[in-house]
């Protein structure tokens, strides 16, 4: 896993360090201050106890010094944590930005074949894990490692014997730590998988509520949910077991080290060259041993955090490594035709849906595609809009290669209406503009008028600014809204995919009327058995006619 996580971490780390030099310096300074100040209080304590052993009084100033050192150490530690937190947030921000940018480079096929909840969990859950990876992982671990080394150095100056014991025990504890982490890591990965399923199950339930009620499938949905939760529960339980024994084992070893040191320190002359310490040093060493295991324990936890995040980093790396959309472009056609030229395409190239298909539609023409379900009618539209590219042959939309059309030129070239309206969060206006500020109110109102929805929208409490909600429009009105969305930038070509399917006759009539109004002066390509009445004379293109073996 290391080999594939490193490039992602290094890239983002490098990026953040370069972009925020001040912050990076601040983090380093805070860590240095925190390491240094943490060392001082036991040294003051050593002096105190040594004075006591020598039956000397403690001046009030020395007591105050101890207090000041403790408070300063605390402050520096908080400062360090704050700096690390901010740093971690910057890293997460960088990674999430990269994730959003990646979305634009993915092929449309990715969105058709991946559950949106699972993809979203890469952004949210795995993104959060990355935050923890830096704030409570990598950077804290560096700080704790320095702390560990510094304390070890101080112990060596007081007692070589104790230093050697600690040096001998540390690798053993590390092996133990690694063993714990391996087991925890596997459990964490299982948990993330289960949580991704849980995340997807909730919005899906919302989308299917009526079906669930009418089929009395509530219990089945709950059982499915329980299955996912149970998977998560078992994984968390396994991780918890390791987590529970880890720290107690460390602290017991710590006690053993202290006991060992004291036994040898008391051995007398033979050992005193090696272990010889004053009573004050003994008290200070006990404090240091306590301190040395706390960064070690922290490192253990941090490695665990990193381990937990490793699963997240794995998901994110995998996502960022998804093959990107790099369509082969064809040169534009001589005129503004919409055409397939001996085109072959299959979602799985071994299983072509469309075989050697050719047709040409001239500007202003009306064409209807027919064919049995699954014959690939919608696929034709996906190719025409450049969501997919063919395995063989060429395709043009209005004379251009669809995959090569610039984003800002798309809306004025074509508008696309499909069976289901894709409602975006926002106001009624946003449904039409899709947040495009260049799409002004005139354009919106004109589009609404063509779609025959202007009166309906005018009747809403806040008109165009009414927040869009699930119950605001009927299904038919949503189709009209989809037409308005398609028309907003006055496109030359209209693509209509079964837009009246599932509508009652009344609504269907309104939709057809809207199409009739908006088809004027445009090329219209449609998939429907019943659209001919609205757009007048149409040419029929049959898709998949030779696939007689399926019928």
């Amino acid at each position: 896993m290391k080999t594939e996580t490193n490039p992602l971490l290094r890239r983002t780390l490098g990026g953040v360090v370069r972009a925020h030099k001040g912050l990076t310096f601040g983090v380093c300074a805070a860590i240095a201050a925190s390491v240094a100040t943490a060392l001082i209080p036991p040294l003051v304590l050593e002096r105190v106890v040594n004075r006591l052993a020598a039956r000397q009084a403690i001046p009030f100033a020395l007591a105050l010094l101890y207090f000041a050192c403790v408070v300063i150490a605390d402050l520096c530690e908080s400062l360090q944590n704050a700096a690390i937190t901010i740093f971690g947030q910057k890293m997460t921000h960088g990674i999430r930005s990269a994730l959003f940018a990646k979305l634009s480079r993915l092929p449309a096929d990715y969105f058709h074949t991946h559950q949106s909840g699972v993809t979203a969990s890469i952004f949210t859950n795995d993104g959060d894990a990355i935050d923890i990876l830096y704030s409570d992982g990598v950077v804290s671990m560096i700080a704790d490692s320095f702390k560990l080394i510094a304390i070890l150095a101080v112990i060596f100056t007081r007692s070589k014997g104790l230093g050697l014991i600690v040096l001998a025990v540390t690798p053993l504890l590390f092996l133990f730590t690694r063993w714990c982490q391996r087991r925890t890591g596997a459990a964490q990965l299982d948990n993330r998988r289960a949580i991704a399923k849980v995340n997807n199950h909730v919005p899906e339930t919302l989308k299917c509520l009526r079906m669930i009620r009418l089929f009395h499938a509530e219990r089945h949905m709950e059982d499915t949910y329980d299955g996912y939760i149970q998977e998560s529960y078992d994984a968390v339980d396994r991780a918890n077991l390791i987590d529970s024994i880890y720290s107690p084992v460390i602290l017991t070893v710590q006690a053993a080290v202290v006991a060992f040191m004291m036994i040898f320190a008391a051995r007398g002359r033979a050992a005193s060259a090696f272990f010889g310490i004053s009573v004050g040093s003994a008290v200070a060493m006990i404090a240091y041993v306590g301190q040395i295991f706390s960064p070690l324990e922290n490192i253990g936890m941090e490695i665990q955090n990193i381990q937990a995040a490793a699963a997240a980093v794995h998901h994110i790396s995998e996502f960022l490594a998804e093959p990107e959309w790099a369509p082969a472009l064809t040169p534009p056609a001589a005129e503004a035709i919409t055409a397939f030229d001996h085109l072959t395409f299959g979602y799985d190239p071994a299983q072509p849906v469309l075989k050697d298909l050719s047709f040409t539609v001239r500007p202003g023409e009306r064409v209807t595609f027919v064919g049995r379900t699954g014959a690939g009618k919608s696929t034709v539209f996906r190719l025409l809009t450049g969501l997919y590219t063919p395995q063989a042959g060429r395709v043009w939309l209005g004379g251009q290669c669809p995959a090569g059309i610039a984003p800002e030129a798309r809306r004025s070239l074509y508008g696309c209406v499909s069976q289901h309206f894709d409602l975006v969060p926002g106001t009624v206006r946003d449904q039409i503009t899709l947040f495009d500020p260049s799409c002004g109110d005139d354009a919106v109102i004109r589009a609404l008028h063509l779609a025959g929805l202007d009166d309906t929208v005018a009747g809403l409490p806040d008109g165009l600014d009414t927040p869009m909600g699930p119950g605001l429009f009927s299904k038919g009105q949503l189709q009209l809204l989809a037409i308005a969305r398609a028309l907003a930038a006055d496109p030359k070509i209209l693509l209509l995919d079964e837009i009246t399917a599932g509508l009652d006759a009344e609504t269907e009539a309104r939709v057809l009327q809207a199409i009739q109004a908006s088809a004027k002066g445009r090329t219209v390509l449609s998939i429907s058995h019943r659209l001919s009445r609205a757009v007048g004379k149409t040419r029929i293109i049959e898709i998949g006619a030779d696939d007689s073996d399926l019928n």
């Binding site: 105190v48 006591l52 052993a53 007591a63 105050l64 403790v70 408070v71 402050l75 908080s78 997460t92 921000h93 959003f100 979305l103 634009s104 449309a108 074949t113 991946h114 559950q115 949106s116 909840g117 993809t119 979203a120 952004f123 935050d131 849980v198 909730v202 009526r210 219990r219 059982d223 949910y225 329980d226 939760i229 968390v236 339980d237 987590d243 107690p248 602290l251 202290v258 006991a259 036994i263 007398g268 003994a282 008290v283 379900t373 699954g374 969501l387 984003p407 798309r410 069976q419 894709d422 975006v424 969060p425 899709l434 947040f435 079964e498 009652d504 006759a505 009344e506 399926l550 019928n551």
Partner: protein, 584 residues
Amino acid sequence: MKQRRSFIRQPDRIASYFKSEVPVLIIVTISGLIYNIGMVAGPYFEGRLAQCLYDIFHHRAIWRDMVTLALCYVAVIGGVQAMRAVKRFSVRRFANNVSRNMRHCLYNSLVHPDADTLKDESLGSLLTKAIADVDACTEGMRKFTTELFDTGVVMIAYIVMLARYDWRLTILACLFTPLAYFAADRLKARVTAANAAYKQSESALNGVTMDRIDHAVTYRLYGREADRNAAAEDALSDYEKKSARANLYEGATTPLYDAVAMIGAVMILYFGARNVAGTGWIAWNIAAFTTFLACFTKLAVKASHAAKLFNSVQKASVSWKRIQPLMREAVNDDWTVMDRPVVPVSLTFDDVACGYREPNFLHHISFAAHPGEIVGITGEISSGKSLLGKILIGEVPYTGTITVGAKNFAEMDQKERLETFTYMGHEPELLSTTFRDNITLGSAVDAENFLRRTAMDQDLSAMHRTPDSPVGAGGAMLSGGQQARLALARTLAHARAIVILDDPFAAVDPKTEVQIFKDFRTHGKNQTLLLISHRLAHFPECDHVLYLHDGTGTFLTHTAMLEAEPGYRSLYLKQTLEGDRHEN
């Protein structure tokens, strides 16, 4: 079948979750008490060890004493830590159980919604609720349980021990702890506000993220991807700011605490040294001094953990407030429709009126349908065909009398209705699971049979899929027609005595339509079928036709209707001509 989960009673009260975990909490209590009281062993033995070293240096003890003492120390610490491991695991088990219970409960109320509970929630906010809030909540409860022992019990144990060494110095040193609490309390309001802002920003970011992913294809089609990424970037920046702020406030509490609490250490160093020197309140040796100081330092640290306790409880209560309205008493409907036999019944409408909000759209509708019959329902533009189906699933108000077998429809409860009616609407509403799961919905029906009956088996082999292949997000791997047929297969698999199909052929091609219609005739002997459609190709095969026009309906056979209703005739003729043209 898995064992049924048991639901928490009174799930809108935090206490209920503690109550349900009493056995685990008993283990937590026992191991927690032993561990935390045992915690004082550390400083006690460490002081004794230092004293022993001092005594050996002054020839008041021998090496053997140190060995015994040191071995005792390790044994006691080992035992105490073992208890700690038990406690840690039990507390985590407790949190895991609570998290599971809360999610159960949350999901249960999600799947049995009140008509208006869910309407005002955006998807992103709901997701945060369901997942992040439960986590924050259980985390808070776990910390509360942990700190109850690790802070509460251990602080008492430490204070008792300190008082035994020197009660005056204990009071003097601990005087500052309440002051620390007071200072932290001042910060609390800000911590809460910062946390609430952080949660809100997180929810907004999740909403933007879901939007960006859910509508990725739409944004691509319209060239809006770059703009949506910019909106996401804004949400990210806001989230980063709010999150850093919340973290800073939370982080500021601990050093403030420590600083104030550690003033006590100054007292101990000064007055404690006087004790050792013999000029104080009580005569101390070095063991007493070091134990007292170590004990007090740990106490101060524990006191600052109490701040963490406040913070986590605070965080948890912000989350809890947001999920509490969704935490309703569980609906435990432990019955299945599929276990009941299908009892063939007739359906009679007698002078029924109905409408979308009030029963004012259709009037004087009367017809009867008997088992084995197919009644085709169609009508002119805006005739309200869907209304009739929706009456039977309780979504549309009506007047008049509807009789189902011997019963009055109005007097049937929800359970009886579900046992009698099967309804298929316009939306396929498929789950992201497998073909089989979408058909069976967990019941024992033979999925292959229904795939065959809806001609889906051919599609499956053409796509190189099996019934256990996934169908994609909401059926995204399937075409519109395939989605509709899978939904139809599900409907047929669960068919009760009366089946209502609202436009089942909308996205289905004519050839498949013929096959499916044939299937109704073969398998529908026990069923009364209402076929609502505006495609009339199969209406000649219906036993009766209900033709809606002018706010009412005419009920005749197809042939009689052609004679009686010129509107029906022209509708039928127009479609058959058009259909012919397409078929050729």
